[in-house]
Symmetry: C2
Subunit: 724 residues, 2 copies
């Protein structure tokens, strides 16, 4: 007898799974996933409120807003929303007073006035007894930002009854820095290669450029520096400017301005001049002409980001001129076009026998007041270089006459590349919330960079992008959250890391409450975990040589002392740590007295900065009652264990996460765990050669020798310039 099998439920589930995989969750859509809401009741409720869209006058930006809203509503609610020419019950009214008579008749001018050029209002109102939602702004771009905010409300399943939202960005320039080279390699890039397919531009427009612009607009990012700070002058030639212009044309309706990095020696390299002296007349003329030319291609070109006289880059000091001389020369030529200069403070020299952490302050503080008013000085969050943890940069608060821009790194150069799950909002917030005390308590870095502390109108924040041409943009699915966090914090620095994480999780993964809770905890703890297994207690820059992959506390004897690890940890038989007090490099003196007092004594210095500021004896007792050596070990072991717990937590979510991303993150967490143990073992074994103490009882002994770890080589670690 032959009987057909009925298909068991499990098989059906598998088949559905297969079919999903055919167009699986590849991460390409980022947080702009408009899949149908699982909460059908809520979707129905939304649908009953959202019936029509009214857009009275079209513009490129408003059409994008309308299309995005249509698309989101169709996806999230599964219904097609009609357009209307007049207000019905359930109409979403889009536009600016200038473009829409309906809005002009409805919009509260005072509230609109308060949100400026980029802000928006979203509010529920009744017109002729018809309930509708108005999304309005002073400029079209504000409407687009409002649309994305509104969509976010739906994606995160919030109430849209009685809306009354006014929102405006706290910081004016919200910018991504791409360290992308013209050959499409990306310095410190771990998510594939550059998005910019220079060879095919301007003729071929990769559809991805539009999705890049959408993603940025959705989180309020309004500028992008296309090229590496280690710059190539070729991008300023006619051939490339046409390509840049094609990108600028795409980004413009999304409110995104294009910026380039200016190689200081470009007048020599592509201009045929003998010098790049910023005070030389021909050099000035060359830059003026070049900049005028750029604006013929890109009428709203944003300006230049410049790395000068740092790590081998040319700059004004080659001609015995100051950073201000260099910046002002460019700024002068940009000013008539309303362009700006972002001049990086990340400078240090091996010819200066001074603690590297002090050099930027020493060079830049004396220049305060000498920069033109369209120059910002761009300062990294910490005084060394994007470490897992650094104290805030002493320049914040120290240059009151100069607008300072904060530079943070999204790409995880020192934080596990694209294989470690590290949510960076807590790192950004730690810096932004730090108190400089320059105008008394409450003089936070946030208030420096949003201009409120020293009354600057020109304000900015930059994130070094973690974006490449990987299908999911950032390599690690969770690294998307760091891109997201930059945009959200740049708009509203007061947002908590937790709020941002929750928004992102709901939009990117799931609205399931248990999943949201678990993922949020994983994310919020992740950065501290990474600090623990890499550089606990204020240790810093003990990564592998050059590529910065993995531990390398033994790195020494390199071309520059400040490119070695031993320079930073200063371990010896007595103890470990960099003495930056008055008895050491006295970097501490660059901070206000209040900060000096806090950090100046091992007794008051928060333990997370202890070895940043102090050389501490191995047997020094810490707050836990343990010696420094034991505490160091416990941190390393706890860090590695925490990754294990993160793995368990993730595994428990299998049923709540799509199969592709579940598997990807599972593999990545396994790598992270393996590498956390590598960090732990290598560092504990290395520092043990100084402390001569046992690893505390109960902690598993490393299964490999220090020699083994020291012998590891990674000739093709990603993110460094290829060598041939």
């Amino acid at each position: 007898m032959t009987t057909p099998l009925t298909i068991p439920r499990i098989l059906l589930a598998l088949l559905l799974c297969v079919s999903l995989t055919a167009r699986g969750e590849d991460g390409y859509r980022l947080w702009l996933r408009y899949d149908k809401l699982n909460d059908a009741a809520l979707a129905k409720k939304y649908s009953s409120t959202l019936k029509y869209i009214l857009l009275e006058k079209e513009s490129p930006t408003l059409l994008i807003a309308q299309k995005e809203l249509n698309n989101a509503l169709q996806g999230l609610l599964g219904t097609t929303i009609g357009n209307t020419h007049s207000i019905q019950a359930g109409t979403i009214v889009l536009g600016t007073p200038a473009s829409s008579p309906v809005i002009a008749s409805l919009a509260p001018r005072d509230k609109l006035g308060a949100v400026g050029n980029e802000g928006f209002l979203i509010y529920t109102t009744t017109v002729k007894s018809k309930l509708c939602i108005v999304i309005t702004a002073n400029q079209d771009i504000g409407v687009l930002y409002g649309i994305y905010h509104f969509i976010r409300l739906l994606q995160t399943q919030q109430s849209i009854q009685s809306l009354s939202i006014a929102s405006a960005p706290a910081i004016q320039l919200r910018i991504l820095n791409h360290w992308d080279n013209l050959d499409r390699t990306v310095e410190r890039g771990y998510a594939g290669f550059s998005l910019w397919d220079w060879h095919k531009l301007p003729g071929y427009i990769d559809p991805r450029y539009y999705d890049y612009a959408r993603a940025n607009a959705s989180i309020g990012i309004n500028g992008t520096v296309l090229t590496n700070v280690n710059a190539n002058a070729q991008v300023l030639t006619d051939l490339y400017l046409k390509k840049v212009a094609a990108l600028a044309d795409i980004f413009r309706p999304y409110g995104i301005k294009v910026y380039l990095t200016a190689r200081f020696s470009a007048p020599i390299e592509i201009g045929g001049l003998k010098t790049a002296d910023p005070l030389d007349k021909d050099v000035k003329v060359w830059w003026k002409n070049k900049i005028d030319e750029i604006y013929t291609y890109i009428p709203d070109f944003g300006g230049f980001l410049v790395k000068a006289n740092s790590e081998g880059q040319p700059g004004p000091q080659n001609y015995n001129r100051s950073h201000a001389d260099g910046a002002n020369m460019l700024a002068e030529a940009l000013a008539p076009h309303h362009g700006i200069v972002m001049w990086r403070a990340f400078v240090y020299s091996n010819e200066v026998p001074e603690d590297r952490a002090k050099q930027a302050y020493n060079e830049f503080k004396p220049l305060d007041g000498s920069f033109n008013n369209n120059v910002l000085v761009q300062v990294k969050n910490g005084p060394v270089d994007f470490q897992p943890r650094e104290p805030f940069h002493p320049l914040f608060g120290a240059m009151p006459k100069t607008p300072l821009m904060l530079e943070v790194q999204l790409t995880q150069e020192y934080l596990g590349f694209a294989t470690h799950l590290v949510y960076l909002a807590p790192l950004f917030k730690e810096c932004m919330d730090a108190d400089t005390y320059t105008h008394g308590k409450g003089s936070t870095v946030s208030r420096v960079i949003d201009g409120s502390l020293e009354n600057h109108k020109l304000t900015g924040i930059a994130g070094v992008a973690n974006i490449g041409n990987d299908r999911n943009w950032t390599g690690h699915p969770f690294a998307q959250a760091n891109w997201y966090a930059l945009g959200r914090l740049a708009w509203l620095p007061a947002l908590s890391s937790e709020t941002i994480a929750e928004e992102w999780i709901r939009m990117t993964f799931s609205n399931d409450e248990a999943a949201v809770h678990a993922l949020k905890e994983m994310m919020l703890r992740s950065r501290e975990t990474t600090v623990q297994y890499m550089t606990p207690l204020g240790l810093h820059h003990i990564m592998g040589w050059n590529h910065h992959y993995g531990p390398g506390p033994w790195i020494k004897d390199k071309p520059r002392a400040d490119w070695t690890a031993v320079y930073y940890h200063q371990a010896d038989s007595l103890g470990v740590g960099f003495n930056r007090t008055a008895r050491g490099s006295n970097a501490l003196a660059q901070y206000t007295p209040e900060v000096q007092k806090l950090y100046g004594s091992p007794d008051t210095c928060p333990e997370e900065y202890l070895l940043w500021f102090h050389h501490i004896r191995w047997d020094h007792k810490l707050s836990s009652g343990r010696t420094l050596w034991d505490e160091l070990c416990y941190h390393y072991y706890t860090g590695a264990d925490s990754v294990y717990h993160m793995q368990q937590r993730w595994n428990a979510l299998e049923s709540k996460i799509d199969r592709d991303r579940f598997q990807q993150v599972k593999s990545l967490l396994a790598i992270q765990h393996q590498e956390a143990i590598w960090w732990r073992n290598a560092c504990v074994l290395y520092f043990q050669t100084f402390s001569k103490k046992d690893i505390p009882a109960g902690l598993e002994k490393p299964d490999k020798s220090l020699q083994y770890y020291e012998s590891l080589e990674f000739p093709f670690a990603p993110g460094i310039r290829p060598k041939w």
Copy 2:
């Protein structure tokens, strides 16, 4: 009065379009698109025949086959097909006689015997009056190939009534050569960067690796050389072999073996030896141990591809040994593991004052008979280097005792990179169908490489991959067809270019008859068009220096004469062309007398090879009645015009093609047209400096000067090794 607008049809269409775009046709699915068939009647007919799947015993490969079939049927027909344990009416029975008693009882042993290890049978049969379809083979991989064949029948809307198909590959090794470097740059790659994310391997398995394997299995490709022929020895270290093994594990159930390129000097570079002399005992031992080690990681490792003593690569000649000495040394160590060596015949030296087209023959022909029996010599289709058109390589037929493998290039190094639409099957076929006359008429290159002419069992064909990490794999949507064509031709060289194009179009774009017809014509003419606007009448290697982007007939004075264009075109005041007759380099003598006779006289030589073999006077009259100069001009102009016609043809298909790909190809064709005019103008102006003749009346004059074209520089053209 307020009236809601009804949504006009056009708007609805637009909205649907928007929603499609959200998960638009990004090209990722290649020809394995399983969207629902448009022909509902046919889908219904298929559904009535295809109701159950019977798979008696599972294996990794058979599970893939089952899953793929389920997935395809669900997508194409929109119905879920159940599994059964016994034959019902409408059952598809999968398996081998060894794995399935049902199959063992049904399968015709004689027919199965005839299809070998990789072939398959698909036939309709009746069991106990129940109509079913059997897909069977001697090995699991044959079943998988059969499944893909069966799915193709559905995708291309063919009848599945009374099936009786027996198919087996004509060529044993069907291989992709990836010129991928360990830093993920790809030599001559124009579709992004390497798929192989070496840094994250083996821990992180990109889902794309599975889709790569699926795509290859679906067209019968059964081997992949992961690394560049300009090899790096690091891939043979423990660190990398673990990564290679991870890829091999993924590819294995898809029937794909992994191969590597062996850098001949590896014993020195990673082995610490002083020499790499293939007759040195220590060198032999080193390779034996290394190869044994490889097999501990990858038990079915395929073997090595070697580029030696060519373009700066090390090789046995560094030690005064022959290519055979080098190849045999490796072959000996591989033989116990059933591994093979593919030794490239692409060698030439600037120290040899001899026509580069002759050198491979001169070096290799004398070695015929001296290679071990697990060595193949891999020969490019033509004697120079993957030009738009070359005569077949004279080694084909000239080494009867040695298995010769054909190497063709899918990546369009000399054919417009990834921006020109060039369907390459006609190029491959031109070589394969060429008659060497070595055993009389009918001694085609196909019969050399399929082993039938000289009775070789070991046979192979290799395509230099055009695959990168672009979302659509190959950059140009139509370049996917060249990957597809390689697989199909390797399986069945008798397939026509037209058949292959039609299959691919139906699977990749549309079954709409008008669209199929138009696309097929575009594809079939495209290669001849490219020859016309680049290198008509037998011209060759007049591309831009180094990057090979755009025209460069003026290239001269480079480190090697045979890296210049003037070496190849030999233009002077009298005429143009490379005299390869007895009065010239006599490369012609490397062919059989029949071929010599055909090509030896300008009167009988097909005009497409004229300037390859002859230096022809500018005023020589050709078959058209035109002078050479006029004919050359007409070819260049016709080529550029043909691209314009291709654009028109494409534009007319707008309603039949998805929006994303329509737009992409439209942009790419515009680039191609622009570059075709560039080629035309630059070449005509350049050759005019010799011919001193006017461009024929009626042809538009170039709008730029020769100096302009000569001045163009492309410092970051893709596909060459980055320089810093």
